[in-house]
Symmetry: C2
Amino acid sequence: MSSDPRTTRDRILDAALQLLENKGEKPVRMSDIAKAAGLSRQAVYLNFPNRAELLIAATRHLDAREDVDARLAESRAATTGEARLALWVRAWGDYIPVIHGVSRALTAMAATDPDAAAAWGDRMSAVHQGCTAAVAALARDGRLAPDLTEKVAADLLFAILSVNTWEVLRLERGWSQADYLSEMERLARARLLGATAPGANT
Amino acid sequence: MSSDPRTTRDRILDAALQLLENKGEKPVRMSDIAKAAGLSRQAVYLNFPNRAELLIAATRHLDAREDVDARLAESRAATTGEARLALWVRAWGDYIPVIHGVSRALTAMAATDPDAAAAWGDRMSAVHQGCTAAVAALARDGRLAPDLTEKVAADLLFAILSVNTWEVLRLERGWSQADYLSEMERLARARLLGATAPGANT
DNA sequence: ATTTTACTTTACACTGTGTAAAGTTGACGT
DNA sequence: ACGTCAACTTTACACAGTGTAAAGTAAAAT
């Protein structure tokens, strides 16, 4: 009992994440989380004011555990815009399966709970920034398709890389993660990259 | 009162659709629908066994009212694969705003109700068939990108044309419908079309 | 005139969230 | 050893929303 070094709060969050990740087709209830954490339902409410805040905390907990910042920052190391785009697509694309469970719960919650909506909005805003940065790197190299503004290109990349697109291709259409990644990269390149001009790069 | 030629069932469905369409951020309850239809909540349950069936019926009602089949069949008139792709993207892309409200309610319901999930799955299956047909027309013209199978191309097109992508670009990112349509067409063309070969078309 | 149809009204069971309050238990300080 | 404090448990209940049940009503159909 006392051999578990985690705080009660962390045990609750870990339990919640495990339930959300584990093929959980059925909605995860507060009592399910409590049971999985080996606590009474009330004990969960002693640690989190409500379900929305628990899910939000779970997302942050997961982000910390998986070091999302480090993962997403990887693409910044790229020297060319093209390489940066590829790394960005793969970094985020490989993180989607990790957050998929909590993402579903949080977006479902967002329909009724403004806090949940705001929390998910923050997440997505960070991803959009990553898209904007990748597009900016392309533009800096003069490799952005000439018929695209950076704004439109970033929005398109963001839409392509939505969790929903991952769900559709990976879960409904049965694609492998490897296929998903390479096809997303090809799709992004096909639309975002301009033709390689002979005398480009000023 | 008796001046309304619609059946009670239709009045309920119309009321439900209006509530779902009307910027309804808040979830639409059975009692809301009853009130909007000018009926008691019980009367709604006399016409539909449960909320899921009502939403499913509302979707079909809307499809009939808007003649979705005719809209989506329009693209079949195209002579070239390229034209067919363009018409298909626009036909479905212009239908998304129409079904958006009911779509949100139905997909939210799908998380807990298998019938709702199946009904939405049917819808999407029809859309996927449209994508498959458009891709097949491209392939017939020898215009499909050589690094794509018809299956992968159809899945990609289907993913691009998801309701979620429309929501992201149109509602979150603030795109106009015209921008959405033209950019989706450009995106699809950029990835799906092969280079125009001089001596193509056998 | 009575039956049927299409309702209304009232009431209640059920699920899941969230609140409230009293009771238990072990660790910790004095 | 004693009290107290924190971290729980247990029990109970309010509330919303769905769905069920049953009795009542009023107009239309037969």
